[in-house]
Symmetry: C2
Subunit: 208 residues, 2 copies
């Protein structure tokens, strides 16, 4: 559970952002970038960027900047984002279906390999390529495919129960879209995406 050097939680998040920026630079054929330029693209201050990078070691060239390729692979390595992680999705409603159809994940190192739903026969308007299995298959599928992460897009009323199944099956990272706080054992990590809260937060900050 411990990391090589402890990287602050928020820095981890920003490293992901830097990685995206670097990938874009790379595909534009840019080979070298200064902390000023990269920081601007990532929306942070240059000193923060440099501080964040020191958690990974040091590989900038003073007077010049960073090698885009090298920096990208170093970050990806440390984030564990170089190997394609298999992910499952539970809850194939409208949001779940949209996420299944979203082709942006593969480029980013993830693939939703299967979906689960209480009702596998429900009519789904959009054509999706992943198989949809009934909940009973979840446990064996997770074990056989070494799945560690799940995207949870079930209704709030079912979320805690489904979470219990996931944890029981051996999943220990959950990306939760249901608008409630999941109770999980401490070795399980939950990241919440709550759209209503994001909107509410925005509306607070735009009051005059």
């Amino acid at each position: 559970m411990k990391k090589q050097t402890e990287i602050p939680r928020k820095a981890i998040y920003r490293l992901s952002v830097y990685l995206r920026c670097l990938q874009r630079l790379k595909s534009n054929g840019i080979r070298t970038v200064s902390s000023d330029a990269l920081a601007k693209a990532a929306g942070v201050k240059p000193t923060q960027l440099r501080k964040d990078l020191t958690y990974l070691g040091q590989f900038g060239t003073r007077g010049l900047g960073y090698d885009v390729e090298l920096l990208a692979t170093t970050i990806a390595d440390r984030l564990g984002a170089n190997s394609l992680q298999p992910v499952i999705l539970v809850g194939v409603g409208s949001l779940g279906t949209a996420l299944l159809a979203y082709r942006g994940f593969e480029r980013e190192g993830f693939e939703i390999i299967a979906a689960f739903d209480a009702d596998t026969k429900r009519k789904r308007t959009r054509q999706i390529s992943q198989p949809i299995y009934p909940m009973e298959k979840l446990r064996s599928f997770v074990r056989e495919n070494g799945v560690k992460m799940a995207v949870l897009t079930v209704p709030a009323t079912a979320a805690q129960e489904v979470t219990n199944h996931l944890v029981d099956a051996g999943v220990y990272g959950i990306l939760n879209f249901a608008p409630l706080v999941l109770q999980v054992p401490e070795e399980v990590v939950v990241n919440n995406v709550n759209l209503a809260i994001e909107l509410e937060n925005l509306s607070y900050f735009i009051q005059d």
Copy 2:
């Protein structure tokens, strides 16, 4: 742009979470709650909950706890979440369509009243109730309807350009799903939801 009393950014976010919990308690007929119980439901420590609440004043009863109803309306008030905010959505692809169909926002005080897309004639598999307008209508619609917030679900390649239009039209809160950092004037607030980054973040924290 200034608040009555400055509430820390992170506290604002948690107040939204508390509000959701209180609404659930209320609909279960519970009238009074202690900081311990509410904190547990919200996934925070009791002292943090109490500290957060002091930013709103003080209305707990010592020895007893908080009045659920009163606390809920006080928080909602301060968050500006009591009046139904009109929101528009730009980019009616698969994710945009799913969000339009998502009926959870109204209960939370928001309503997506219209959508905009470069291609209004594109076939959309799911029936949605909101009108879809061409981008040319955006500016006048925003002005006439006093729209302040927008959900941005266009492809990354179009995101910055569309953002410029939104800002120009008078929107100053954007919930951005495109996987890049938007450049905006400082009076405009952007909240990012980046699914690939959330997954990447999870995958880091589940490494052993």
